[in-house]
């Protein structure tokens, strides 16, 4: 019994090395925690992504090229944000119900590392689905895609904002039933009532206006702009709106996590 011989450390850790170590450890924690759902989640993601693209063909028979382009690019956004926006809050609600939440938040890591580890996990979970959906779309439809470097910041900002909005929601709400209700509604809105898979002018006027200020339409706009040419206008505004949501969700998360009961 030699390892316990020295008295426990008394200096506080801080700085970049501490941050990076904590980030890596929390990422490992997340990946192992999700091990059982990891494969299933990625498969579901891939199936939803590819399914959306193919279902469109079943629906229309011959698909109008513009519709194919919208759905094929919109579905990428859906695969990117559903885990962070829906699965994330549900996992946190479960931790709160099982009372394991306290242990996770008693770990001595900077809060930012826990949040960024979760964002990274979402990226790892979301990218395969996104890639497969894009591949299927290219095979199935004769898409007029123009890939530009702008797709990288677009994908990252979309994923980050979606994940952080879910994160803020998850930690702000205490009631698991409420979380379940809200996330169910979110799926509904994302898939059916937001201009992700179709242009905004197909929505009722008031809803289209509302979506100018919600994060979903801007996500679709910037991702689509990175993949196409001459389809999307006003990308700068979309970045601005989405950036504001990103900052706000980070702020709310920080406030909620800093607040102790």
């Amino acid at each position: 019994m030699t390892t316990l011989a020295a008295p426990p450390a008394s200096a506080l850790r801080s700085g970049v090395v501490y941050w990076w170590h904590s980030y890596r450890m929390m990422l490992r924690w997340e990946m192992v925690s999700l091990r059982m759902v990891l494969v299933i989640t990625v498969i579901v993601q891939i199936l939803t992504g590819a399914g959306f693209v193919l279902a469109l063909g079943l629906f229309f028979g011959t698909v109008p090229p513009r519709a194919a382009l919208f759905v094929s690019t919109g579905v990428l956004v859906i695969t990117l944000i559903t885990i962070g926006l829906v699965l994330g809050p549900q996992l946190v609600a479960m931790q709160k119900a099982e009372k394991t939440y306290d242990f996770l938040w008693s770990l001595p890591v900077p809060r930012t590392t826990a949040a960024l580890a979760w964002v990274t996990t979402n990226l790892i979970l979301g990218l395969p689905g996104m890639a497969v959906a894009l591949g299927v779309a290219l095979l199935r439809y004769d898409l007029d895609l123009h890939l530009s470097w702008a797709v990288i910041p677009a994908v990252l900002l979309t994923l980050f904002t979606g994940t952080m909005v879910g994160y803020a929601l998850a930690h702000a709400l205490g009631n698991p039933m409420l979380v379940a209700a809200i996330t169910q509604m979110l799926i509904f809105v994302i898939i059916g009532f937001s201009p992700i898979n179709f242009p905004a002018d197909q929505l009722p006027g008031w809803l289209a206006t509302l979506h100018r200020w919600l994060p979903l339409a801007p996500m679709a706009d910037i991702v689509r702009a990175g993949l196409t040419e001459g389809v999307v206008e006003g990308v700068a505004r979309s970045y601005l709106v989405l950036g504001t949501w990103a900052v706000a969700s980070v702020g709310i998360s920080a406030a909620v996590l800093g607040r102790r009961g």
Partner: protein, 318 residues
């Protein structure tokens, strides 16, 4: 100031924490020295978990202070989390972790380097006798083994303060002993151990000092023997009544009594020992009692006297 000479005691002063109408902590003051194992005893809902959650910075007190050495743990929850390790009362979220892996990751999250953590993990697995399950997934572990793995996780790289909220829950008697040994070892290494437990008899052997808490207040504090001082000169007479037997009329020399199930516990003066035995034998002769035992009073009697909590006695009888 040189590190060794700094005062690393954990001090809690006038701590008040309310949840709506409930005063979960109602002015608690205590102090735990490095190297000391300090027990917190008290009935369900007494406010023990609430107290320790404030120490590790998960809850903020309404008023009062908590300091550790130079750090104000209320103002600086980051310091609290770095300096205190915490085994919560609830189970650990390790369903998809192998036992070994859960210990390693937690140890490294707590700042241990890989080599030290691996060595300490092997020691802990051996010391707690859980080698059989070192590669088993958390989801497949029994409740007690999962509890022991949780203990190993948070002690793989212990902090200055070790907060253990009912560490022996679900653990079998033999491994409970092993766990108490490890707790003792933490104390010997200079860790201040704050230990919540319901197991009064075991706590008596494992702790240096203890506090009895009820309804958010500290009822008594001291070493096990100082707490028992008031009961010196008294004995406990335990009578196991037959099934469906009413509590018999008590002779005047019975000073205190509680009944849990068939188990009638009484406290009598030492000088009355002969009378007490005769009375118990009479009860047996009448077929009212099945057996009896006369012995020294224990910490449990003190605990029952202080809190009026008969549950601990029930546990021992059961």
């Amino acid at each position: 100031m040189p590190e060794e000479r700094r005062d690393w005691s954990l001090r809690v002063r006038d701590l008040v924490k309310t949840f709506k109408e409930v005063r979960a902590n109602d002015g608690i003051t205590l102090r735990v020295e490095p190297g000391e194992v300090y027990g917190l005893l008290g009935p369900n809902g007494a406010g023990k978990s609430t107290l320790v959650k404030q120490v590790i910075g998960l809850l903020a007190p309404d008023s009062g202070t908590i300091t550790l050495g130079p750090y104000d743990l209320v103002a600086d929850p980051d310091a609290a989390r770095q300096l205190c390790s915490y085994l919560p009362q609830a189970q650990m979220p390790i369903a998809s972790f192998r036992a070994r892996q859960a210990i390693d990751i937690t140890g490294m999250i707590r700042g241990g380097d890989r080599d030290t953590v691996t060595r300490r993990r092997d020691e802990l697995i051996e010391a707690l006798d859980i080698g059989e399950w070192r590669d088993t997934l958390g989801a497949k572990l029994s409740g007690g083994v999962r509890r022991l793995v949780g203990f190993a996780m948070v002690t793989a790289c212990p902090g200055r303060v070790m907060v253990l909220d009912e560490p022996t829950n679900d653990v079998d008697p033999l491994r409970r002993r092993l766990l108490w040994q490890e707790v003792r070892r933490l104390g010997d290494a200079g860790v201040a151990v704050l230990l919540v437990t319901h197991n009064v008899m075991e706590a008596e052997r494992a702790v240096d000092r203890l506090a009895v808490i009820d309804r958010g207040r500290l009822l008594a504090e001291g070493t096990p023997s100082s707490l028992k001082a008031e009961d010196r000169g008294r004995l406990r007479l335990q009578v196991m009544l037959g099934p469906r037997v009413e509590t018999p009329a008590l002779p005047p020399f019975v000073q205190l009594h509680t009944r849990v199930g068939h188990n009638l516990m009484t406290v009598v003066a030492e000088a009355e020992a002969a009378h007490a035995i005769r009375w118990a034998q009479e009860l047996m002769g009448l077929g009212l009692a099945e057996e009896y035992a006369l012995g020294a009073t224990t910490l449990e009697d003190v605990y029952i006297r202080l809190t009026g909590d008969v549950e601990a006695a029930g546990r021992e009888a059961g």
